[in-house]
């Protein structure tokens, strides 16, 4: 689907309006320059008129929670609570944050973390880092000091300045607790603890300014700062970004661009990219993964850790450090290895316990992140491979394509017959998938991908035989045939859905919801720009952050009102 080309006069009108606003000096400028810019306008179509989506209430993810605490109080402050398995919607935990609830279990754990963090911050060995004031007698309450400390940390934790009523409340809590416990620091500790389990901290609650004349509204400056920070740094807005929000910088031309540039230059940006891809590749599911030690003796939790780290290092190096083409992630042979991974890949690594850059030899048959142990082992059974699971994962994770569930009433008779002949390969076992009409419809989009990946066993070790029989690795992807894993890598690289999928996921993850119906045009535009930017992920992320759509809002669905037709989400996995 492509967006309708804007007619020339409309595009010119919009262009001149924009340019006048940004460069007033040009308004009366030379016609030649104007025409030159109009030409540029055609080479680079401008963003469609923003349509917006609802303001969101998003629960912090585990990664965000940990990053926030480390950013505000330092990495040594422990997070002692546990995090339950996160809710994934539309393939992403980041999107699930828009609908995830907080169960009694979750609060118990947040409560434990809050106690631990507040105690660590106020411990005698640490508190001087956060507290530059205090009463001469710790039994006394120091109101100015408490106000300063709580305002400062409350602003960072709630991602906005406290209201005067909130300041009064938290200072009041500290005063009362100081009285009860006879210690100023214990009083501050309890007030800080209360902030750490407050809904304003655990949820990112967005607020919007309504639009005029039926036009979309816009997030308020603090909510915009949060969207920017969580998307580009995976953490809370820092002091400079909050200041930009407070001083109106985010409303001025170039203000968002400047903040985006600044944040993308920090080490946190790399973390945000890592988190996004760990989420997209569903690495949290390693927590549930078990492998039979009798069949895969090399597999253990250390190897699983290394495998994830390998893929994430490959991703960050390629996308961020080298500013590479996203599609090349599926063909690159550049990676990083540890010694234990080197054993699985049959690529010797001299140093023990260190990561070394490595380039697989062409004969190693390892092109692309889909040929790495993390992907291959995660999408296999405990004791064997599954061409179906792997094919499904390629479709779902890298191409954003959903494959329906199997029909509940499947006739497995023929599978039984083929599965129990001697010396069979997976292809023989799932022969029925391709021949039974009720199975073939879906399996033909999954199995041919997975059958090529049969060159890797359930752990990810390269093999050419299964049960003594030579593995037939012929497969196909939407019209492209191949019979090697390199062929599959090229087909994924060239598939038109590959870049579209990641762009769509990035936008949805950034806003925490599915796209609205009218946002299709925006997305088409975004994907077009991604292509024009040679599929560079940092450029895509910058474009999302600096687009008007990123902050545009429809009216929130208030209690008792009907859902506006234009705010409905596209029927997808949430149905």
């Amino acid at each position: 689907m492509t967006s309708p080309d804007p007619t020339l006069p409309a595009a010119l009108r919009r262009w001149s309006r924009l340019r006048r606003a940004r460069f007033p000096v040009l308004a009366g400028g030379a016609l030649v320059l104007l025409l030159a810019l109009a030409g540029a306008q055609f080479m680079e179509p401008s963003e469609p008129e923003p349509v917006g989506g609802p303001p969101m209430m998003r629960r912090l993810t585990e990664a965000q929670y940990r990053a926030i605490i480390a950013d505000i109080f330092g990495p040594q402050v422990p997070v002692t609570g546990r995090f339950e398995k996160a809710v994934r919607v539309g393939g992403m935990i980041a999107i699930g944050t828009g609908s995830a609830g907080i169960s009694p279990f979750a609060i118990e754990q947040y409560d434990a973390s809050a106690q631990g963090i507040a105690a660590a911050v106020m411990s005698p060995s640490r508190r001087n880092r956060y507290l530059t004031c205090g009463p001469s007698d710790v039994r006394r309450f120091d109101q100015p000091c408490a106000t300063q400390f709580l305002n400062q940390n409350g602003r960072l934790l709630f991602r906005r300045a406290l209201t005067p009523a909130e300041t009064n409340k938290y200072v009041g809590l500290a005063r009362r607790a100081t009285g009860q416990l006879g210690n100023f620091h214990r009083g501050l500790e309890l007030s800080l603890y209360t902030m750490l389990i407050a809904p304003d901290f655990l949820f990112r609650i967005e607020h919007a300014k309504p639009g005029l004349d039926g036009r979309p509204g816009e997030l308020d400056a603090y909510s915009r700062a949060s969207r920017i920070a969580f998307f580009l740094t995976g953490s809370t807005p820092d002091d400079a970004l909050l200041r930009a929000a407070e001083q109106g910088e985010l409303d001025r031309p170039g203000g968002v661009e400047r903040q985006a540039e600044r944040l993308m230059a920090t080490p946190r940006y790399e973390q945000a990219v890592r988190s996004f891809f760990a989420d997209m590749m569903q690495f949290d599911r390693f927590g549930d993964l078990s492998k039979d030690p009798a069949i895969y003796p090399a597999f253990n939790s250390d190897l699983a850790e290394d495998a994830q780290e390998q893929t994430l290092r490959t991703v960050v190096e390629h996308l961020v450090t080298k500013r590479g083409d996203y599609r090349d992630l599926f063909t690159t042979r550049d990676t990083f290895l540890t010694r234990s991974l080197g054993v699985v890949y049959r690529t010797p690594v001299p140093q023990r316990g260190e990561w070394v850059p490595a380039t697989f030899a062409p004969s190693a048959h390892r092109a692309g992140i889909q040929s790495q142990v993390a992907f291959l082992s995660l999408h296999s059974h405990p004791g064997r491979t599954s061409p179906t699971l792997r094919g499904y994962a390629v479709r779902q994770i890298f191409l954003c394509q959903d494959v329906p569930d199997p029909p509940a009433t499947v006739n497995f008779t023929a599978i039984e017959a083929s599965a129990h002949r001697p010396n069979v390969t997976a292809r023989d076992r799932i022969f029925q998938h391709a021949t039974d009409a009720s199975c073939a419809g879906c399996h033909k989009v999954m199995d041919p991908l997975g059958l090529t990946l049969e060159n890797y066993d359930g752990l990810g070790t390269f093999r050419q035989r299964e049960n003594g029989a030579l593995i037939d690795t012929s497969g196909s992807l939407d019209g492209t045939d191949f019979d090697t894993t390199d062929g599959l890598a090229n087909a994924l690289h060239d598939h038109p859905e590959t870049p579209r999928c990641v762009a769509e996921r990035m936008y949805k993850a950034a806003v925490g919801r599915d796209i609205t119906w009218n946002e299709r045009y925006y997305l088409d535009w975004l994907i077009g720009r991604f292509a024009a930017d040679d599929y560079r992920i940092p450029d895509l992320m910058r474009r999302i952050v600096t687009s008007a759509e990123f902050f545009a809002t429809t009216r929130p669905v208030m209690p008792g009102t009907l859902v506006r037709a234009d705010a409905r989400t596209i029927a997808g996995d949430r149905l």
């Binding site: 409560d111 809590l173 309890l190 389990i197 509940a408 929130p556």
Partner: protein, 443 residues
Amino acid sequence: MTSLSRRTMLRGAIGSAAVGVALPLLDCFLDTNGVALAATGQRIPVRFGTWVWGCGFIPEKWIPTTVGHGYALPADLAPLEPYRDKLALFSGFDVKLDGVANKPHITGCLGLRTGIPVPNEDVKAPTLDVLIAQKIGGETRFRSLDVSTCGLKKSYSYHAAGSPNPSETSPSALYRRIFGAGFQDPSALAFEPDTRIMARRSVLSAVTDDRQRLMRTVSASDRARLDEYFTSIRQIEQQLDLQLQPPAPVKDFTRPAAPDEEGQGSEMGQVMETHRIMADLLAKALQVNQTRVFNVLFSDTASNLRREGETTTHHTLTHEEPADAVLGYQKEHSYFATQSMVAWKEFLDSLASIPEGDGTLLDNCLVMAHSDCSIAKAHAVEGIPTMIAGNSGGGVRTGYHLDGKGDSIARLGLTVQQAMGVQVEKWGQLSMETNRTITELIA
């Protein structure tokens, strides 16, 4: 004591054609059923739990050939002989799909637990354990305790779509949560309220002060999420309140030893061991009133159980294994189905090992065991095997096999809620909706 009993009342209600009346749980009913008061003079509470195993059963090894009392125990239920009188078997109760796509191993399980068929994990109503916890779970330290013994962090207990109650998979973590910090040992000699806890309790109410302000600013669906958040905060307040009182004395309680067990993996022997440890911890937690509601996921509904060194899981076997020519059923699938019932028996052992009142902890529990399907090979949601164990302090009757003959399985969910005192007259949606209490179950 009065001659009024719950059954008399129910019969009267049926006689006057008002079927499905919610049953009040009056003290006199409990007393006429002979449930003694605890030695301490406090009434023994009733507890509710679910116990879930995946991939159904082998019908000829599970469904008794006769109904009512005195049935012959089929092969897979043979281990449960010691509990014959404390067990009610339900066959032939269906999840009704009403055209909803049957998501294998999900639709049956969640349909049974919510009374509404769904084509995915997005439940349309809370699961029945949550509804019961809202009624009976408010006075204890944990609203419910949820465990998974097969290494998978899965749960079929939902407050709402997007809000599952997560399961503990590690016995060590479960132990620390129950018997670690914050646990008040009833056998401890001295009690002194902690001033720090008092102070924390008082600041917590400041969190709930924000409720009205926040509710006004968010959308309708987000209000429900905030509501869950505030309910969860209420549990923390409850925990602190309990810590500020001396613990109620409990007879015969000894604090269990900490297990050195992380509960990873899906190998059958490992899962049985993890399950035994977690069952004992849960039983002890129930004994000392840490919770009144629990959910045990023995194996996931698409069962990931497997034998050591074998390449196929239980779930895969149900689809790929041919029926044994002599036996007439899938032999390997049968192994896991049999082991599941052995595990269920061991779970009841754990509850029955704790003396309480005149009997055991099991007598004061109502545990509903169920699977996600009947015939796993076909993902059939008709006739999902279900059992009720324990007598809920005399509130329910057991000791028989009942054939639902294709009735909505929501009848079970409805009756169980009523037995636990939930005021509900009809439950479920579409063809599942029912107001027909299973009168055989109500004592």
